[in-house]
Amino acid sequence: MASFRNRLLRVNLTDATFSEDRFTDSMIHDYIGGRGFGAKLLYDDLKPGIDPLGPEAELIFLAGPLAGMTAQSFSRLKVFFKSPLTGTYFKSAAGGFYAPELKYAGFDGVVVTGASAKPVYLWIHEGKYELREAGYLWGLDCDDTHTLIREELHDPAVRLACIGPAGENVVKYAGIFTDRRAAGRGGAGAVMGSKRLKAIACRGTAKVEPADRDAFAVAVKEEIAGYRANPMFANFSKAGTQIAEFTNILGMYPTRNFREGILPDWHEIEGEAYTKLRAKKTGCHACMVHCGNLTRMYTGRYAGAWTEGPEYETTWAFTGPMAKADIGLTIAADKLCDDLGLDTISTGSTIGFAYELFERGIIDTRDTGGITLAYGNSEPVMALIRQIAYRDGFGDLLADGSREAARRIGKGAVEYAIQVKGLELPAYDPRGAKAHGLNFLTSNIGADHNSGYSAQEMFGSPDPFKVDRFEVARKGELTKWNQDLTAFLETGIICSFIPSMGLLSVETFGKLLSSATGIPDVAAPAYLWKVGERIYNLERMFNVREGMGIKEDAFPKRFTTETLPAGPSQGQIFETDALLRDYYQARGWNLRTGVPTNAKLEELGLAFAVEK
């Protein structure tokens, strides 16, 4: 099968054994690749109720069918697992150069099971593989791990996906890192740490070829022309993801643990402020957008700090939750999280949760080890990040995420854990944009913005129709549209920013896929929409099988009982019941339980997932 290697490496770390799988023709036809494969493999391989940190848990690394060629923005690594943070199906992705290298090394993916008695790393090289001793790497940060493995293998071109101390210490929102790019969310790093797998290194030279070279070249040209014709391309390429000024002006920049929608002094963290600190632009393999930045701080408390980033979400994570706009801290904290191996969103949000508990007197300095948490003072953040990564002192409590920390603290703390299904919310107040919020509520991995980004509400995108961000009507239909679109585009493991900016048409994506794989069906938009819906419903059924349903599609009560107090979104609330009902209706799910109906599952070719 062209564009695929059609080799899936399975590694059992308990007994250090290997096997190889191939994807069947029907698997490729029905699920295409990437997110489709990840969802199907997890559904088939995992028994319900398994411990996400136990040896029976799987950690799946996949490159997509378009990775490693000239198609733009598809060279992302995606990892799939049952999340220790949420207990749900989970997907998390990283940019950079890893996914193409994995294919050049001979594989589309790696499935890791079991647990090693001692730290190891996996080395995949020109179609061969071996486990190597990693005791000397255990405890090292992600940057040093990259350096030392490249030295050991005598090859600076080796690509790595590794964990830092946070993953080793099974912090439930530890990520997997590849050259400072993160598959950050949901705790993939914790799963890897529980298996005592420090890294997967890969290197190869085998070229990846499309099925129809001429048609593929035409499709890539069409894709590039589409980027260039869209004004978003140049703007995004120049500014990157920094939109703090924009979300503040919308009045939906979460501040003080989502109590307010405007951060005082937000001018300090505008995109232009970061542009002034930019040392260099960076990008991923085969992506002309080049939205990344190396940023350096030259003055003040954090002079000398540098990072690749921060992205908008990270900027928020270390400002809004503490109600303090310190640009230097955002740079230093981003790098520290990358080094120690933490998801910045959950880290910042969980610290922000602690700030509110402290203000309310639910916790005090006896709980925090003497640290005072006061809004307007973000000085404790760097120390808390280290405590979380090393599970030291108060950090040990925060390392399990805000939902679990709230459960252990008691005293009503759960109301202030701002999460859905255990995943902390990203940097948008759901009351200010209802489809954006509805996506947080119904995403199969918890409150994830990239599962169905509402570009219609945020940026005025006219497809499939123009909307008012405060309106409730038709938001179920819109959210389904955004989620299914994302699901089928992620069969190619596309960068999330591309669909949210409307840079790639469904027609062009279909041409890229069909010319690369040689499967005619995938050229048809109607077929792709069907696959997107199939994937979405299968992921939902994974969660249903774990005992989840309508009860888990819930926000903390703040969003349904407290209005935003000031600014352009003042007075807004999240109308959960009406929005959720509209969404279930659009999805063809049972309105009382939130479970896909048998008829819907059968229609999508998912009869095997019907609950017995």
């Binding site: 004004p231 978003m232 703007n235 500014a239 939109i243 002006i249 919308l250 123009k466 008012d468 979104s569």
Partner: protein, 96 residues
Amino acid sequence: LRSRNRPMRVEALLFGRPRELAGCAREEVSLAPDASLADLFESLGGRHGPLLASELGRKEGLIILVNGRDYGLLGGMSAPLKADDTVAVFPIAGGG
């Protein structure tokens, strides 16, 4: 009646390319009491030159918010403004 005819003040916040062309991030503009968004843009263009006027005139590629609301939902360029309104103009953005 006299107070109704008094000019009103509107705040314009400019980002990205519009900011570069204007040479400032924020501007207070006095407008006639029945002024629209189009009048504000004309005033800004007149004050800061033809490059800004042309940038604001193309509209496609810009996000224009009046008090945080998309101007398209408020009546487009003929949307009436009120005293103390804040109009923000961004290059069309993507986020993450």
